[in-house]
Assembly symmetry: C2
DNA sequence: CTAAATAAATAGGTTGCCTACCTAATCAAA
DNA sequence: TTTGATTAGGTAGGCAACCTATTTATTTAG
């Protein structure tokens, strides 16, 4: 009885395996690392929605990208070296670094934003609006499930 | 008009980002690397379906796991060192290494197989049979889309 | 027999993180 | 004001998961 219910589990696993292996985030075309592109994009997108003209902090970026702050620091160091971002000290709290995009960094972030927008708009076209909404609903549940399982593992 | 169509693209991207960041394959509990567990499992699952009692070749594993053969070799070297697999020369073609599981390796593969089966059966429970079938159909299309985009990038 | 193709191994490299630990600055309590 | 605790970020080293370049040995094809 239950065997019929789980007949597609292997297929599901195969699919998720294939997904794990491919990473759309690697679909980039710039001379910097994919992770660094994501950081530039994160700065641009948050800066845009932030009414005060300051930059991003390391902690903010760390939370947003879900990586540790030393990871962010090291990315930033490399991006500074190649003139994509600028680091300055926050006037009100000297512990805090403010990270802002240079024009060069802005350019890449802009392009990356467009690329990803195009990518996911294309996916919606490919699936159709209704199906893509459905996919969202389903994936939310999948994510929830994996998170729950992850917790139980600890 | 089209803007309404793409209103959920950011959400889709966010979801895919979260998925990219988490990796169910890491949900393991053994003292070897997740990638190595996968290799052991691949051996067990293919060996089971293979009517001749020989082991797996490096090429086979490479194709199955979608990694290069040097990657497989190095994994195997480590697994040999820790007594999870045995390498022998194929009697009919001395270029070919045959990789078989030790009892120890068999044990881990067995457990991993059960863990993943449980994981995906649990997902089907979580979603319901109908929804999980739907997810499969949708993900097939998503995968198709990303593959196509990946090709166009080159 | 010889050259090309094949299978696998070795070595070195990159990316994407993480942890351990440290310094400097800020905050809170005495 | 001083002191201890907390916070923010930086540095260094390490690991996992691959990849590429190259080499060696074996097999195949002409």
């Amino acid at each position: 009885m239950d065997e019929w219910k789980y007949e597609n589990a292997p297929q599901l696993r195969d699919l998720f395996s294939r997904f794990a292996k491919s990473d759309w985030r690697k679909l980039t075309r710039w001379s910097i690392k994919a992770s660094e592109v994501r950081l530039l994009l994160a700065i641009k997108e948050s800066h845009g929605s932030c009414s005060d003209a300051g930059g991003m902090t390391v902690s903010d970026l760390s939370k947003l990208l879900q990586v540790t702050s030393p990871t962010v620091t090291q990315m930033i160091n490399n991006l500074i070296k190649n003139d994509y971002v600028i680091r300055s000290i926050h006037p009100g709290d000297r512990r805090v670094a403010e990270i802002t995009l240079t024009d060069k960094g802005e350019q890449i972030a802009q392009e990356a934003g467009e690329l990803f927008t195009q990518l996911f708009n294309g996916l919606i076209d490919h699936l159709g609006k209704e199906q893509s909404d459905q996919l969202i609903a389903l994936l939310e549940q999948v994510f929830q499930y994996f998170e729950q399982v992850g917790k139980e593992q600890l």
